[in-house]
Every structure is written in structure tokens, then in C-alpha cells.
């Protein structure tokens, strides 16, 4: 394992053990090693012994903020809906947070999904997570039996022998275009702040914007044609906490449930739009997609527009209201047609 990540694993285990042993937190949310090489799984340590299973490496692609609301709720004493809310301090949870995850926690605090006073956030400046699909593509489908990382390279072993890849070349798109690798909200920071800063964060979007309307429609149809509607992108998303998602609604049925192209596209449009102004580009949706669809491009387009139109970025500051919960008299006006702008103005 890389020197940096090995150090961080040690530090995370040490701090998690300390937090659990002192009773400051009832559970610690992190990652444990996955059963296959290049995978990790989200892991809740509840005893200092369990904290020894925590790891930190380049494959922590799932967003931990996704598990917070349910985990916090599970630690509350059971009560029926008519019972009064519990009084006194409730058990706390320790959680790891990179730049994007900490911003998701900020969004969840703003949306009253988590209680800041019940969190102990260990900030980890992100070095970018590796996209497993990029690695597999680089190896042309050869099966990886063992993966080792150094600070700047990945060594992959299998029956064919050994291959070494540059780490940055296989880092996820969203990490390569990341502008906020450092946590914005934390109690303890485990490492020195990262200084990496993407130069052209929206270059992928600009390439699509440069196409004609027809070309974009072709691109959109083709890019999402392989979707199997498993909803992994939704389930991995820390913003998708509605108890009934619009895709599960029957009356009205917003979107059909079969694998019909317009339904699939409508699902993706609405899924992305529901994340508008809230998405922190953590890339979890894209990482979990079993079909390798670049679902993140949709939310990234929305982030770009919201940044240009309203100068807002999701989750940067708890005290700044999210862009869609507020307004400014000077906002751009889409309600503008030729007549309304000239004649329709009220005196």
C-alpha cells in the first residue's frame, strides 16, 4: 500500500479506536477491505477491536455521507411516532470525510438530515480515488488478483504477470476535475491540506456543449442506452434520502418502470435535476454504475450552470442557503420571450 495511505490507515485506526474506547462515539463509519482487489466496502466499527479493520486506500469510492442519516437514526432509542422526541444527548458517530463527502454532510445538515452535534468528523484531504473501470479498461479485461499502490503508481498482478500503471491516469474523472479536495467541515484533520486544484473542471461538459442540438440528443440517447435501471446511482447518492422516490411513485407515475428509452432518459434527467444545487460531484453514482454509464456528466452540467448563473456551489458553508431555496431579484430570466420582455413589463 502507498506510504501516504498506509500512514492514513494507521492514523484512522488509531483515532477510531480512541474515539470508540473513550465512548465519545458509539459507532465509527469508515471503510474495510473488500473481498476483491481494488474494492472497499463501507464499514461501521462499533468496538475498538473492530476499528482495526478500517482501511484507507485509493478505492474508497463510495460516499460515506450516504449512510449517516440511517446510522444516526439507528442509534436513537426506539420510539413510536406518538412518543415525544428523545431528550438528552444522543449517541454520536465518527465519520471520515474528504472534500466532497464533507460538503455532502453540510448539505445534509442544511436539509435537517443529520445533526452536527452528533458527528465527529475526521477530515481526510483527498488524493483522488481510482476508477476501477479505468484500470480494467487499461488491462483490457484481464483479471486482477492483487493490487498494490504506491504514492504515484498502481501495481496490478494477475495470471498474466504484473502491470504498473500511473495512478493519476486511472483516477476518477470527478477527482481529476476536483477543485475542493480538502474537507470544509471537520473536527480533526488527519493530514496536511491538499493543494491540487483542477484547471478546467468543466472541460467534459464544455465538449458536449460545443455540439449541435441534434448531436447532443444522439449523445444523450447513446450514453444512457445501456442503463438497466438498477437505481444504484440513486442508492449510492447521499442526496437521495426521500422515503418514496419519484421512480417508485404510482399515482402519479412520473416515469414508467420498464426499460423503455424515454422512461430511462426521463429517469436520468429527473434524478440529476433533483440533485441540482446539492450535488458535490463525489462521483459515487458513476463509480457504482454496473454499466459504466457516465451519469455524473448530468449533475456536473447542473453544477456548472448553477455556478455560472448564481455563483453557488453546494455544501461549501452551512450558513449559506442552498441555491434553490433562495432567490435574488437579479436572477437570470428564462420567462423571457420576445413579447414579454418588450410589452409585458408592468409599470
Amino acid at each position: 500500500m502507498t506510504v501516504k495511505h498506509a500512514e492514513l490507515t494507521q492514523e484512522i485506526q488509531r483515532q477510531a479506536k480512541e474515539l470508540l474506547a473513550s465512548g465519545e462515539v458509539a459507532a465509527f463509519l469508515g471503510f474495510s477491505a473488500g473481498s476483491l482487489p481494488m474494492t472497499t466496502r463501507p464499514f461501521v466499527a462499533r468496538t475498538p477491536q473492530e476499528a482495526e479493520r478500517l482501511v484507507w486506500n485509493s478505492f474508497c469510492t463510495v460516499n460515506l455521507a450516504n449512510y449517516l442519516p440511517a446510522l444516526l437514526k439507528s442509534l436513537e432509542p426506539p420510539r413510536s411516532p406518538k412518543d415525544p422526541p428523545p431528550t438528552g444527548p444522543l449517541p454520536k458517530v465518527g465519520v471520515l470525510a474528504t472534500g466532497c463527502w464533507s460538503r455532502n454532510i453540510v448539505v445534509q445538515i442544511q436539509e435537517n438530515q443529520v445533526d452536527r452535534s452528533r458527528l465527529v468528523i475526521l477530515g481526510v484531504p483527498s488524493r483522488g480515488m481510482v476508477d476501477r473501470k479505468k484500470v480494467l479498461a487499461a488491462l483490457q479485461g484481464k483479471e486482477v488478483l492483487e493490487a498494490q499502490e504506491d504514492d504515484h503508481s498502481l501495481r496490478l498482478k494477475g495470471k498474466w504477470g504484473e502491470t504498473e500503471l500511473s495512478r493519476w491516469a486511472v483516477v476518477r474523472d470527478n477527482c481529476q476535475s476536483c477543485r475542493h479536495p480538502n474537507p470544509v467541515l471537520f473536527d480533526r484533520l488527519l493530514d496536511a491540506a491538499s493543494e491540487r486544484q483542477a484547471q478546467a473542471p468543466f472541460s467534459q461538459i464544455e465538449a458536449i456543449e460545443a455540439m449541435s442540438s441534434d448531436e447532443r440528443w444522439q449523445w444523450f440517447q447513446q450514453a444512457f442506452a445501456s442503463c438497466i435501471r438498477c437505481y444504484a446511482c440513486r442508492n449510492a447518492c447521499p442526496l437521495c434520502y426521500c422515503s418514496t422516490c419519484f421512480v417508485d411513485d404510482n399515482r402519479p407515475q412520473w416515469v414508467g418502470k420498464a426499460l423503455n428509452a424515454p422512461d430511462v432518459l426521463t429517469f436520468h434527467i429527473l434524478r440529476a435535476f433533483h440533485c441540482a444545487g446539492r450535488c458535490t460531484d463525489c462521483g459515487a453514482c458513476e463509480s457504482v454504475c454496473p454499466m459504466g454509464i457516465k451519469v455524473r456528466l448530468l449533475t456536473q452540467k447542473l453544477s456548472k450552470d448553477i455556478l455560472t448563473l448564481f455563483g453557488a456551489e453546494a455544501g461549501m458553508d452551512v450558513s449559506v442557503p442552498p441555491p434553490f431555496t433562495t432567490y435574488a431579484p437579479s436572477d437570470q430570466n428564462p420567462f423571457e420571450c420576445d413579447t414579454c420582455s418588450s410589452k409585458g413589463k408592468k409599470e
Binding site: 442540438s213 440517447q221 426521463t266 433533483h274 441540482a276 452540467k301 448553477i306 448563473l309 430570466n333 409585458g344
Partner: protein
């Protein structure tokens, strides 16, 4: 050509719907292509509704509400303005023709204005032809 577009119009109860009413009472002619759905406020209209209209085969969608500052609920239309400026860009980014999705401000006193808006929107959608993108068709 016989084809006439079907346009779904989401009109806010307090301004645009009353504007449409005034257009009728004042006998202003406008194309009969719109199907009006009365909503409490333009802020009530969600992306789900707009896409639902397109998916069900509407050739165009018009959302109309009170002028900024005139909202019966103080700020519903201002919130809607933010949401729809992003939605409009987003749908155009994905290749939905500009002009399928239309927005306007029409107050209760602007009957003639309402007729003009509808005429314009109808012309724009007619020029685009029948909607095919995002329309769900049931194969026989």
C-alpha cells in the same frame, strides 16, 4: 399540413390563469392549441410535471406565472425562475429542442398579452414540428 401542436400550459391561479380568463372574456383570439392546467403558483410546477407532459406526447410546454414581485405567495415565482432557468439549459444541453419549453410572465390584467404569448408559443412549436424526443410511444 393538418398537424396542430398540443401544448400543455401550466398557469398560475392568481395571474396567468386570470389573464387567460380575461383574454376569453375580452374576446381576444388565440390559437386553440393549448391545454391549460391550473396550478396554485408557478413555484408549484416541478420538473417532474414538465417531463411528464413531454413524455405523454405534448409538443410544447408553457409555464406562466406572475411577474417578479407580484407572487401571491411572495416568492414562489422567484424560486420557480431559478429552477426553470437551470432546467431549460439542462434540457437543451441534453438535446431537447429550444422552444419546446417556454416560460412567460402574464398578470391578471394582461389578457391581450396572454393571447400574444400563446400565439408566439404556438408558432414556435409549430416550426419545430411534432415532438419525438422523450415521447413515450407504446408499440403495438
Amino acid at each position: 399540413m393538418d398537424w396542430e401542436p398540443k401544448i400543455v400550459a401550466f398557469l398560475c391561479n392568481w395571474c396567468s390563469y386570470a389573464g387567460a380568463d380575461l383574454a376569453g372574456v375580452s374576446r381576444f383570439q388565440y390559437p386553440p392549441n393549448i391545454r391549460i392546467i391550473r396550478v396554485p403558483c408557478s413555484g408549484r410546477v416541478s420538473a417532474n410535471m414538465i417531463l411528464s407532459a413531454l413524455r405523454s406526447g405534448a409538443d410544447g410546454v408553457l409555464v406562466s406565472g406572475c411577474h417578479p414581485g407580484d407572487c401571491h405567495y411572495i416568492s414562489g415565482n422567484l424560486h420557480a425562475r431559478r429552477r426553470f432557468s437551470v432546467l431549460k439549459n439542462f434540457l437543451e444541453f441534453l438535446g431537447i429542442e429550444p422552444g419546446r419549453l417556454n416560460f412567460s410572465w402574464v398578470s391578471a390584467s394582461e389578457g391581450e398579452q396572454f393571447a400574444t404569448v400563446v400565439r408566439e408559443v404556438t408558432e414556435r412549436v409549430k416550426a419545430l414540428g411534432p415532438a419525438t424526443r422523450l415521447v413515450k410511444r407504446i408499440e403495438a
